[in-house]
Amino acid sequence: MLDAVLAHYNYWLIVVLMMIGLYVVISRGNLVKKIVGLNVFQTSVFLLYISLAKVTGGTAPILTGQPEVFSNPLPHVLILTAIVVGIATTALGLALVVRIRETYGTIEEDEILAAEEVTGTHEAEAAREAST
């Protein structure tokens, strides 16, 4: 029983982290909070991949001249790429949030939907521009 837990405890805790991130994305209406939840979800996926790459008794994959057991370097490469792409999409998402705030005056999802229903996007933008 303990062996079964020790074999997979890393994966289970990472799945819990993933689900907390997913819950933040689904249940919170604030757009910045949603993007933060997406970041949490993303980081936990990276942790899952790197956990898959770990070899017991291995070291970091840097050659030192002595024969050693290395952890698998291929997922490290994939996750390095993924981290930088993640920050790029976060920057774009936050820029969109700034523009949404300037158009609708709010970053809460329900208020934006209500404003869309009442006036529609173009009228809302024209009304804001007329009032500033």
């Binding site: 390095l80 930088v84 920057a91 936050l94 820029a95 700034v98």
Partner: protein, 145 residues
């Protein structure tokens, strides 16, 4: 930030070392942890620190947006042109073996050049994204938020 003397003095001391560390990480990426992405972000962090302590106007004088507009595609072009150089010298696209006299030397040269291209693009993109956020005048009153 003019009243925060300790912050100004300490950041003035630290920023050259941050830039030097960024250069170290960039060019020692094949001997230890490091490489283009980490070095580009560290470089950008030094400029962001300067902009936060001394004001975005001074940072724009040090690193003007026009220079950034040239640096952002330059890194990508360096990377792509290295790939085409492999074709011109007789190999395949992104084949580094033909870039120097020996295959091992060619690989070293190829990795160095493309990591430099990656570092330039990442640093320029991060700093220009920061300029884009910092240059936006906010229409939120100081009491409302």
């Amino acid at each position: 930030m003019r009243h925060h003397l300790v912050l100004r003095v300490v950041s003035k001391i630290l920023i050259p070392f941050i830039l030097l560390f960024g250069l170290y990480v960039q060019f020692h990426g094949d001997f230890g942890p490091g490489g283009g992405f980490q070095a580009g972000v560290i470089f950008a962090a030094a400029f962001v620190l300067y902009a936060l302590v001394y004001g975005v106007e001074h940072a724009r004088e040090v690193l003007p947006p026009k220079a950034l507009a040239i640096l952002v595609p330059a890194g990508l072009l360096i990377y792509a042109l290295t790939g085409f150089a492999g074709i011109f010298l007789g190999g395949k696209f992104l084949d580094y073996d033909v870039l120097a006299a020996t295959p091992t030397g060619g690989q070293h040269l190829g990795v160095l050049v493309i990591e430099f291209g990656v570092g330039v693009t990442v640093a320029a993109v991060m700093v220009s994204v920061f300029y884009a956020y910092a240059g936006r005048t906010s229409d939120v009153d100081a009491e409302d938020w």
